[in-house]
Symmetry: C2
């Protein structure tokens, strides 16, 4: 069970366009750094920095293959989150029945409904 702080931390770490694209690619399979260089328009050191951040938070890992570093996903919540983000929600949530009582509902005076 993740604490609310851990949840926020996880979201913060993946909440970046480059890191999201990296993670989207990794849901499809293993990729090495130079693979990412082909579709991310950022510098190689910057890619390494993003990969390093993801790895230090236990989201991805890698194995070595010669001089290639082959990265892959390890945190199972990631594919689920990415799927949700790609989902289309045609409707907003239903408006609340006007006007439910909040805890401060004992507020003095008449409610105007």
């Amino acid at each position: 069970m993740r604490s609310v702080g851990q949840k926020a931390e996880l979201l913060r770490v993946i909440a970046h366009p480059a890191r999201l694209r990296i993670l989207e690619e990794l849901t499809k399979g293993v990729k090495c750094v130079s693979d990412f260089e082909e579709f991310l328009e950022i510098s190689q050191p910057n890619i390494s920095q993003h990969l390093s951040l993801l790895r230090s938070h236990g989201i991805i890992d890698y194995y070595m293959d010669g001089r290639l570093r082959c990265y892959f996903l390890i945190d199972p919540v990631i594919p689920d989150i990415l799927e949700l983000l790609g989902k289309d929600y045609p409707e907003a949530l239903p408006a609340p029945a006007c006007c439910p009582v909040t805890k401060r509902g004992k507020y003095p005076g008449e409610r105007r409904r």
Copy 2:
């Protein structure tokens, strides 16, 4: 369909402990600012700032009831994300079949497997 930039933006906006707690409360129902004051240990102006950020990104909205501002959820992806974050994943993702070919797989020389 959200762009990768929009996905990152959404995650960034909710990736904060106070905002996550606000959103968790709002999945249960309408709450006004002073309700949040009772369980968030942060100042009232700070709560207002978090609420304002969430609202400016179309995640929540409010209606007025006298001098109470009653906030509620409108973005339907939020309850789904919160549910995922609360879910327990006992297993890491399966390690990749060692060693799949990356795009740079044509790397000169023998692969050591």
